[in-house]
Symmetry: C2
Subunit: 190 residues, 2 copies
Amino acid sequence: MRNIALIIVDFQNGFDEVDYWGGNRNNPKAEENTRILLDVWRERKFPLFHIRHDSVNIKSKLAPGQWGNEIKEIVKPLPGEIVISKTVNSAFIGTDLKQRLDEQKIKSVVVVGLQTDHCVSTTARMAGNFGYDTIVVSDATATFDRVGVDGIKIPSSVIHMVNLSSLNGEFATVLTTEELLQKIEIETYA
Amino acid sequence: MRNIALIIVDFQNGFDEVDYWGGNRNNPKAEENTRILLDVWRERKFPLFHIRHDSVNIKSKLAPGQWGNEIKEIVKPLPGEIVISKTVNSAFIGTDLKQRLDEQKIKSVVVVGLQTDHCVSTTARMAGNFGYDTIVVSDATATFDRVGVDGIKIPSSVIHMVNLSSLNGEFATVLTTEELLQKIEIETYA
């Protein structure tokens, strides 16, 4: 299990402006669950990649140079940890993430972060399609209400569940934090 | 509008085995609508890319060398039209699609095909993230029922609507066939 990378996507202060992103965020404990994983990864010295969205839109809540761009305190990178800047949803486009994974001969990745159906889904899809054994942690990611293409609002919980279900078994395996921790225990001491 | 490419993803016979893919396919007219677009694209000599999934799993309904792998008669490529083979969901991974688009200085793409939440969504996400102005045609794509991560079946219509809503405004603009045809008329004769 040593070579399973944790990829933490876009847990940035700007997402606390909930209404801006659609309102009604689900999974309020996503950051706490990610911190639990982060502590395990740090303790075991597993590979770890913090991804930060550096929006090229200067009006964005995630534009560099402001509070909203900073990674949230609870999952803040420690000095020396790798932080990869991206400007689109996928952590693999316009970055050296794939090169870094391959240089370290990493075959398995865990994707967590914001938002389930945007950056997390896109990063997990590309990871799966590149051939990495990919896990998405259902309670360490979250999203917001969306206006449907028919103009009717779709609750965040539905967006979350449906998007994870479209990933599961096709691009990734969807696990809870607890299920992932159990898997790591078992495989470490097997 | 001359440089808007139509990318037709995976309309292959193997998908007619509906139960194998989850059952209860929505949008039965997706192929007919695609044919309407295909006729317009052919008539106007707009760029056109047929994508075929050549599964590396020899037991797959889409594995090469069998009926299921062939592109459906209604949208079958004509001699001389470009057919790109892929082995994963994204039409951009392991293919030269991006290189071909860029060589032709194509800035806009229309994505149709199967399945809404798998190959169509992944291809549209990457197109949007690569910077192409991307349109997904809601009634020229379709999906099947899925078993949710909680074990409860999710109807294809919900999978379809939610996945399109997660794309819309973030990665792509979601239009109907009729809306797209109107847009092409207006921009061609503007």
